[in-house]
Symmetry: D4
Amino acid sequence: MTPDRIRTLLEQVRDGSLSTEKAMETLRAFPFEDLGFAQLDHHRALRKGFPEVIFCESKTVEQVVAIADRIVSHGADLLATRVTAAQGEALCAAIPQARYNPTARTVALRQSNQPPATRGEILVVCAGTSDLPVAEEALETAKAMGHPVSLLADVGGMEGALASVVGGMVGVPVIAVPTSVGYGAHFGGLAALLGMLNSCATGVTVVNIDNGFGAAAAACIINRA
Amino acid sequence: MTPDRIRTLLEQVRDGSLSTEKAMETLRAFPFEDLGFAQLDHHRALRKGFPEVIFCESKTVEQVVAIADRIVSHGADLLATRVTAAQGEALCAAIPQARYNPTARTVALRQSNQPPATRGEILVVCAGTSDLPVAEEALETAKAMGHPVSLLADVGGMEGALASVVGGMVGVPVIAVPTSVGYGAHFGGLAALLGMLNSCATGVTVVNIDNGFGAAAAACIINRA
Amino acid sequence: MTPDRIRTLLEQVRDGSLSTEKAMETLRAFPFEDLGFAQLDHHRALRKGFPEVIFCESKTVEQVVAIADRIVSHGADLLATRVTAAQGEALCAAIPQARYNPTARTVALRQSNQPPATRGEILVVCAGTSDLPVAEEALETAKAMGHPVSLLADVGGMEGALASVVGGMVGVPVIAVPTSVGYGAHFGGLAALLGMLNSCATGVTVVNIDNGFGAAAAACIINRA
Amino acid sequence: MTPDRIRTLLEQVRDGSLSTEKAMETLRAFPFEDLGFAQLDHHRALRKGFPEVIFCESKTVEQVVAIADRIVSHGADLLATRVTAAQGEALCAAIPQARYNPTARTVALRQSNQPPATRGEILVVCAGTSDLPVAEEALETAKAMGHPVSLLADVGGMEGALASVVGGMVGVPVIAVPTSVGYGAHFGGLAALLGMLNSCATGVTVVNIDNGFGAAAAACIINRA
Amino acid sequence: MTPDRIRTLLEQVRDGSLSTEKAMETLRAFPFEDLGFAQLDHHRALRKGFPEVIFCESKTVEQVVAIADRIVSHGADLLATRVTAAQGEALCAAIPQARYNPTARTVALRQSNQPPATRGEILVVCAGTSDLPVAEEALETAKAMGHPVSLLADVGGMEGALASVVGGMVGVPVIAVPTSVGYGAHFGGLAALLGMLNSCATGVTVVNIDNGFGAAAAACIINRA
Amino acid sequence: MTPDRIRTLLEQVRDGSLSTEKAMETLRAFPFEDLGFAQLDHHRALRKGFPEVIFCESKTVEQVVAIADRIVSHGADLLATRVTAAQGEALCAAIPQARYNPTARTVALRQSNQPPATRGEILVVCAGTSDLPVAEEALETAKAMGHPVSLLADVGGMEGALASVVGGMVGVPVIAVPTSVGYGAHFGGLAALLGMLNSCATGVTVVNIDNGFGAAAAACIINRA
Amino acid sequence: MTPDRIRTLLEQVRDGSLSTEKAMETLRAFPFEDLGFAQLDHHRALRKGFPEVIFCESKTVEQVVAIADRIVSHGADLLATRVTAAQGEALCAAIPQARYNPTARTVALRQSNQPPATRGEILVVCAGTSDLPVAEEALETAKAMGHPVSLLADVGGMEGALASVVGGMVGVPVIAVPTSVGYGAHFGGLAALLGMLNSCATGVTVVNIDNGFGAAAAACIINRA
Amino acid sequence: MTPDRIRTLLEQVRDGSLSTEKAMETLRAFPFEDLGFAQLDHHRALRKGFPEVIFCESKTVEQVVAIADRIVSHGADLLATRVTAAQGEALCAAIPQARYNPTARTVALRQSNQPPATRGEILVVCAGTSDLPVAEEALETAKAMGHPVSLLADVGGMEGALASVVGGMVGVPVIAVPTSVGYGAHFGGLAALLGMLNSCATGVTVVNIDNGFGAAAAACIINRA
């Protein structure tokens, strides 16, 4: 384990068995199998008050349940995204207090006692019913992070232009999520993505197609008090 | 010349020197060098009351002036599009009564005595100054066709979403023209083109990027009484 | 509800409890949750004489039937597009007088007593049998809007060039619909779309790939007397 | 002018010459030439404490100077972006107190007496010298908005991966700006754009290629206290 | 029927009931519903000695069998391409003397008594087993047209480069067929298509991805004596 | 030099200093620097009666003149393509009897005494003046190969659909050349290329965008008696 | 058979029945059906110590088993890639000593007695569980080639940036494999592919999307002592 | 400076003023402005025996000369790539002993006394003269790194297929470099890139379009003894 190796190194420096220069040399030459350490560490700052997230798309039912069990038993908050029906049922059976939202394809459990300090409410705006799964994923993500959030569904068929119209109206940060539902020259969300990137409305930023989770996570980071 | 060949054929049928069946066989077997005939002919129906149009982009100054001279001397209306500065000056020198619009890159002369019967006024709506050349090309095209037209410039930076917004508001046909001015992921107008094709607003149709001429010509055909 | 809020505002202006300037300030500062109001309103002008349309692709059977029931019970005309077999059967069971066209994937019911005033007949032209579903969707859309329409099917394998050939021949507006049926470098209709956008035939405009509904709706708006 | 029309309408309601219902009908039926009003109005909320921005790319030197003069004479803050050398010189001649940054291609003048309340400092991070123009545009934009900002240039050749690496390390919002400088399969910034959209780092959002202005403007909206 | 209308027109010219000029005017003004006529006619020249071809991809089993029955009963040669298993079985049941090739996805029947005069043998060259369906379609097409043809399968894994290598070696026309089998950046045959279009080998021309039929048909037209 | 190495090997086999098996082993193990040999050889069969061709695009004036001099002094036929004005003038100065065609960007000299045996005349068909450079390059190529050829220019604005229309009419091989002239969604010839690849007309094959040389060379190979 | 033809030719040279010049002429004029010979031969040098590889994707269960049986009975090492479940089971039944890895979709059998001389260990680094199938295919490939290899799985969600980060850290060759798992603007691995091609890290080269086999094979060629 | 901060930290551990746990906490929480440190360090391992490289494309003449001066004065080896004529002349004036290769667009100076231990010679193979700049860049890069290298230019017009053909013949690592020279559907090297990625030849890896430097650098890392 890398943290152990670093601890050992520091202890050797402390007890004089390793010179400062030698320790620096070692730190610099860290072989890349130690990347994992840095990785975990970096996310720590970010994860304060955040749930542990399981992206379920490429995992078996067994893997998903095992990871979720470990998270919940540590008392951490849980958010599973891109949950299939089978995964959802297995998670609910294993963690009865968790809440499964089939439209959002999420399973969530919040165990934290108090909500984080926030600046205001997050609003998820959604043009039509076909975008609901992405909007609900965003909604569930913000809830799992303990932020106040509400959904304004079906404001009308304004599709890719919605971010521009909303962004031109409000004085708060807008995070646009193109969705993959459409047909013909929609090209799996590419048309909406390009439209949003070219929006002239100030304050609009964009995340990946269908990335309701990422949009809500970014919104929560912005919304922290 | 093909029209002559067809006339000869019909005269042979009339004077009995060619059987009906033989004439049919000949008409069917038209070699493809006669395509030009069909071509010219087909456009005739379309061109009633329309100016003769010169697309100048791949022509020399001399070619453009020669074609324009021939059109004007026949009393026809003239519209030259994609006119360079050099072409514009040469056309104005050769045809002093013609009007050169450098923003629209058009030279036009209307010699028809009376305007065509139309259903209403055509409105060219344009988001910002960068789209003016395309908007002015549309304006000049509609004028050259004798239709009432006006320009609503600079309605605000709504870019690719403009067609959706306008299309969602009005009960008349809307022809969307994506423009190539932009940067980054605008991809020379592709982003706007895709956005317009995916617009959910009923009644919106689309023409090629920067095709102000085509949009106005289609609008005039729609606007004929 | 927004209309209520506007009515209240106007009543306050009328009875003097709100100054004109204050009312203007309020109107300007409309929060965006009122978009829905504007949206509905905008479509009103457009929808005169038009059926209520349900795009079924991302809806459950239950949702589709519920929406259709509400439309029909209000005496409005109905058009459901992109109907699956299951949705079609459920709609026919719930609304026996509705007509289901499996090729067009539409369910329609026209309850209006008199047809709208139109300028002429709409003609749907279709190159081959593989384009029939899109052509039939256009046909059903025009019928649902009460416009006279007929179908000229299978004029020959002229594929993406059809719009150019027809557009070069006729003196009326032509709306081109690329279709997604093809293989290899057809790229789901992209080849046909690009070909149509680059057509030199005057008066041709284009809608999204497979958008038979949109083409017919635009044609009906053009065809209104 | 539309604001006048609305004021007149409200005055008619007030003095009883227009019924509430009639006024509502009129408000609903607003013809689209009034879009401009809405447009200006919407941006007002957004622009509080923001400079007036001139996007110079498709404007003549004369247009740019005229607009800048008008802005400055009203006491507003000025930011001109995508300024050419000729435009920059003309602006400096006309507004001597303005500051021209040729690398950022900006001209700016801040006339506001006190800076806005902010939450912290904005940090512009830039992989290499080739990205400096975009980074400087972001820097100047944040300065023009009165926000504290600093630049960390040339952190190393980590190119498209920089946003992922930074996003994985920090607990604050990260706005990624792909840049168009590169060669081969970089495709004018498309490679970097796609890489950033697919970043797994939580809290990363993306703006258009080379859009240093948009990124900084979004950062300032986020950074408002 | 259009041929009848043309015959009538010619007979009217012959008996003097229609003037030559009037007849010309009529021929010129042919409404576009007569496109079918031209269409059929054009293919006649081409089809001499060719089988009637049914592209089965977008047709029902019933449609395919009905068309095939009509062709065979007229004594014409038959070639059905893109045949599904169900279509193939139904065709074999209806036309027992027809030959079904499941790899090529073709059903063929040659009823002509004597082969066409040809210049030589056609050779189908195929890199690996994954390209066999396309190669066999080409093989069957050439056979159905009565041309001598043989298959050189599995010459090695030279993939998109095969056309260049063969084209650089032989002094006869080479028609390259990119195939859609591959993975990753093969993009459904696009990589092979682009490679073949950019081949520097003289005499190489290209057809659509997977278009074994088109390649063989072109080869047969070239190979006619 | 490789031919020398092979000759040496064969002489060693002949005089018994190398066994047959050893020689086979050597032939099999040919290091890749001998590719050039195979390369030159392969083209020999192809080049019978063909001119030596210089693709000038990436060569200096001096290189082009030197290569041309060497070709002409050997009595071979010469064809230089993609000739710049400077290259053309230098070639004409160095080889006064050569013919420079600035529209086609070719310089050619035919020194062969008798034309090759051919099957018929090649016809170059061209939609409009913007395609003339490519059409003329094809014309000059066929002439340089000694084949009878003529040009049918400006048959009408049928653009990408021309190959389909012509291909549907004639019973001879058609080679389609997409051209890069166009604007908007033409994407440098991509739209025309895709349209031609998807043409349903039998007997149409396609070459690279603007490849007039390749089309004519393929036509000549087909046209050989 | 070609090797026989070459042997005959060499024997004729040896016994004087064929002149050296004539033999050279024959070697030069090799018809292309002999490509197969060259092909097999070329791979010989490459295959020293390598397993025979079966790419199973477009093959039937019967074909795969037959090829594998032939390879194994010759004592050669076996590697089958892209193995389906059905193919895997059949291979295991036919060759019980073979090892089937369902995650890697490989079946392998190493019969060589001694491992090849290598320079070091190959390390397969993998960002997350979704990339495991590709990583395991690489692992199995290296094992089948007898090279020491280990897997560092799940180093963190660094996705397309992983190659850049690793490449910037280590002083050994890095072969990047983009994977097709992802969503939205990942476009089947295109985003990762472009990101890797644009990596500024020295020593990074790239193979096709999901091509774990190709990456490991290249690594083994590099790793040969 | 970061190295100083780390040294300070280690010294505090050593003299007991900082606990091991606290030091670990600090190392983990490294703010991202310290990335530069890691960055420089990582490259150290890689750069052993490598020249310092200046990518000149986005730098001024002054910047390039200043960086080069600093490198040379430290006794390091120098390689400048993508050098413009002006940059090349200025570098030669400032560092007279440096060698400028205008075709390769490189300036290089090798000051190391002894070449690195290598495994063999690197061979740069190039299809035609249009690819020479990229080939020469690779050649100069390998020379600057002290590796034996030679160039096999103009092996024939095999374009994108060259890597496949060479890769199928040799038993050593092959690094393919697509080049951007071409026209039509070559799309700036995309066609060649895709062709190389899809090559079936074992041992072929690919770098970015025109990246002669990257290919040679990777080759040198592979070629280290």
